[in-house]
Symmetry: C2
Subunit: 539 residues, 2 copies
């Protein structure tokens, strides 16, 4: 027996419509690439999104065609997010930090028809221009200048393009399982793979973000989206922002601590989301400026494990709650988020902080399981660790134009090694390929790195395995020091004493100038293994 | 182009599965009908729900068959909620305060196959037993006693029934648009009409409830559901509770202020939801007991407009935030909820309280419009008032076994007169049929009632229209006094001076012993109009 409720599709168009109807006057603030701050609001964002949707439609695109962006977090990027998806096209965000060959691969593989590019990245596109043959048009997201016109002769300019559209355009109707956006993983090996999100998966994911126990994005908040809009749709925050009608801050290109702190103070940001490396800069600015009455109350940290020392400093030094989260491009990204349960609120602060270090627990809509080496499910709360698999409304089934990647019984294999406690809190121990196996026991490279980074003389660190005739593998730690520091190798190794079991302590600490990281900030361990994989294990 | 995300159905089974997997140990506390407090948890609720689902299936029901309940908020009722819907049947909750003829009508119209009934209501069912011929079985939700067996000879007992099921039962797969539950409106006129919610509408509604800007139901909370489970699925809170994994308190039959306060204190309730009449009793208990460190922080009030005086006392006297909300059986019920916006947080407390008196603004998923007498849409923020229409994912399209009730262009007509400010906040002025029209201008009966109820000598009040040769209609106010009070009619009428325009002040105040209210606490104005509609307008 079917129910008798209204049949409506879950679409991104309905998200921006909601913001326009009930949050028209609420501010949306963007920093332009040239540093100018523009104060807009949801009324204007919605109107310009409709105008852009109309312009795209007049440009002769077909439903489902891909619209690429290479852009910072700014107002035009936001208009493209809503305008392209709501008009029936697929918003394909591209990470500008990719190697040129990867960028060419992605544009070609996605068969992008229009590319919107910020001024900053116009030179990258100019260098590749004759290889990006699939593109009908290139649109520069900046006012027209002679220099830009010369750099990219075939390009148009955003305001000219949008002017061809009608701001009274109404979104077409379509089914909620149509693709809304596309994002390629920037794996540390192999070609990038695309994840084609749907309108339905995006809206359900955004509703999950708005829950009090997830990001609690609401109209009460002034939300600073530091996580890039080219990185898993800025974790879905732009959609949740429209659906909740929050004040939204798009920080543009300058993500140094001082610039972020200025924006936080000026626009009274209450909530911010970003990766640990960016928060390191913000912490430095906070320490230097010691602002009174800091408006920022909460921050979600994801993308990489947040060193516990950083969580501590935010909380104790500045009253900012740090909420750990974990996800992947393939998971939209919300997989787990760390929010305490009612029964845990009566624990001591130390016990609570112990729980907060884990990545968190799944929201409704996501299921997790851990598999052991034989593929058997590990019982929740047994203390066992295993490969993390995930299932849910916003988890990828199959990569774009690729074979099925879910397991036979419908789970996505994350490639991460994790542990789950009896309350469903997950701790990500390592990528399965980065895990160090010594004497039959696993050692978490993430844990070794966290301990090193917590030391005031260590700027960055990476742990890798080195083959060993007796133990199979032994860990070493590669360390980038803060400027001016000069500890000895023994000094660094002594950090580990009493923090982990003796057999888990790295055999060596080796000083390096830089820890190589990929376009999304993940350590490229392949490179390190190549360079240091046969180093002597005797200090 | 379709996206490539996992295809999963939004089902109530997945809600209770989530609670079992990730919130197994979290407490669910129920007060039995005999007053005993039972401490259960989500593991046990889920297990027993599966066992019940299995027992129903073994009883030979067909998918979509209706399972009726006449019951308090208690653990067995919660098991029936999840067990019946997840197993593919329709959970039909019946309001025990209905007249016997209406109850018979509803059971027959719904073609209920099994009726689960609490001990308290067994006599009602016994009296009707030979008329409830559609029922295959009656199951009493209490331990077996000779008295009950004698009262209802054909009845079985809950624990015997559930014992026939298998707690390892797995939920069948079905499509999310299948009906999950059924609730009849207790209109003040005509036969009740049924609303058949779907799994999809229920889950989307619950996700909306969990948003920080709606009820913010989360695993941090200890949630007291005073709103009855026979009243629009307790506003959807049981589902949101499972999906968020909160601690859940089901108060059973005793809803007086002292009983509720005891439960709040014992189980450290942080959030409660209910109707104004119940909160009046709680306020009295709070005033009498003056508890220190009250755990209760927030309460959502709906079902009828909450008198501003009550909101004030909760906030200022006891630090409890009162959140106004509005909805109907036809709207699942969340239509609007009152949460301030970022820009409103810098207003003065008085200005904020002014906003808080309105019913609130729609969450994502709900759209509202106001129509004037000619059926034209009233512009948002114009200050105009009109008939409120509503549309959305959890709004009824058509009553159960009835003709289409949505408008031609797909909206549901609420029958309420409302105003909408420029920020999208709705104030419900009246039922359109209760509105008083004097000299061509509307007078809100709700406003006249609120002003009267705010007076310390007034217990309850109802405003109705009386025909008038010159002004068409004039308002009168019917007043039930608190015990021992003896104001004059002129005293009561003087309350209105300086609060509303002179022409809006009622012509008469008439003292009555009781204000008649229907099964859901709404004033039965028909009765009052019949009795007082031709009273003299000269005091």
């Amino acid at each position: 027996m079917l129910g008798k409720m209204m049949a409506q599709q879950l679409t991104i168009g309905s998200a921006i419509d909601h913001a326009e109807r009930y949050h028209a006057a609420t501010e949306v603030v963007g920093i332009e690439t040239n540093g100018t701050k523009t104060k807009s609001n949801w009324r204007s964002v919605a109107k310009r999104a409709r105008q852009l949707g109309s312009a795209l439609t007049k440009a002769g695109l077909n439903k489902g065609d891909r619209i690429a962006t290479i852009a910072w977090n700014n107002l035009r990027h936001l208009e493209i997010y809503f305008g392209s998806s709501s008009a029936g096209y697929v918003c394909h965000t591209i990470n500008p930090r990719l190697f040129p060959a990867q960028l060419e691969y992605i544009v070609t593989h996605a068969k992008d028809r229009i590319l919107f590019v910020d001024e900053t990245f116009a030179p990258i596109v100019a260098n590749l221009a004759d290889k990006l043959t699939v593109l009908d048009r290139i649109v520069i997201m900046a006012p027209k200048t002679d220099a830009l016109a010369e750099l990219l002769p075939r390009a148009e300019f955003y305001e000219d393009f949008i002017a061809t559209g009608d701001s009274n355009f109404t979104w077409p109707n379509f089914e909620e399982n149509h693709a809304s956006s596309l994002c390629y993983t920037s794996g540390t090996t192999g070609n990038p793979k695309g994840v084609a999100y749907t309108h339905r998966s995006t809206i359900l994911h955004s509703m999950a973000l708005m829950a009090a126990d997830a990001m609690a994005i609401s109209a009460k908040e002034s939300v600073l989206t530091v996580v890039p809009m080219f990185h898993v749709n800025a974790w879905g925050i732009p959609y949740a922002a429209a659906m909740s009608g929050c004040k939204l801050l798009l920080p543009g290109p300058k993500l140094d601590g001082e610039s972020l702190l200025t924006l936080i103070n000026e626009e009274q940001a209450t909530f911010a989301a970003g990766v640990p490396t960016i928060w390191g800069g913000l912490l430095q600015a906070l320490t230097a400026n010691k602002p009174e009455n800091l408006s920022l109350k909460r921050t979600v940290v994801g993308g990489a494990a947040c060193p516990p020392s950083m969580m501590d400093t935010f909380r104790k030094g500045f009253g900012v709650e740090v909420i750990h989260a974990w996800g992947m491009t393939e998971t939209s990204p919300l997989g787990v988020i760390n929010q305490l349960k009612n029964a845990q609120l009566s624990l001591s602060e130390d016990e609570q902080n112990q729980i907060r270090v884990s990545q968190g627990r799944p929201p409704f809509g996501v299921q997790l399981r851990l598999l052991d080496d034989e593929g058997a499910e590990i019982k929740t709360g047994s203390g066992g660790t295993g490969i993390l698999q995930i299932k849910g409304h916003w988890i990828v089934q199959r990569y774009f134009n690729a074979e099925n990647d879910a397991t036979e019984d419908g789970w996505f294999d994350t490639g991460d090694i994790a542990a789950m406690d009896q309350d469903g809190f997950i701790t990500i121990l390592d990528r399965s390929k980065d895990l160090i196996k010594s004497g039959g026991e696993w050692i978490s490279s993430v844990e070794l790195e966290n301990i090193a980074i917590a030391h005031p003389e260590v700027m960055d660190a990476a742990a890798i395995a080195v083959p060993h005739p007796k133990w199979d593998e032994r860990p070493i730690i590669l360390v980038k020091l803060v400027e001016g520091a000069s500890p000895s190798e023994a000094d660094i190794l002594s950090i580990y004493r009493d923090k982990i079991a003796n057999w888990q302590i790295p055999d060596r600490a080796i000083f390096v100038d830089e820890i190589p990281r990929n376009a999304t900030g993940k350590i490229v361990k392949n490179q390190l293994r190549e360079k240091f994989g046969s180093v002597s294990l005797d200090p």
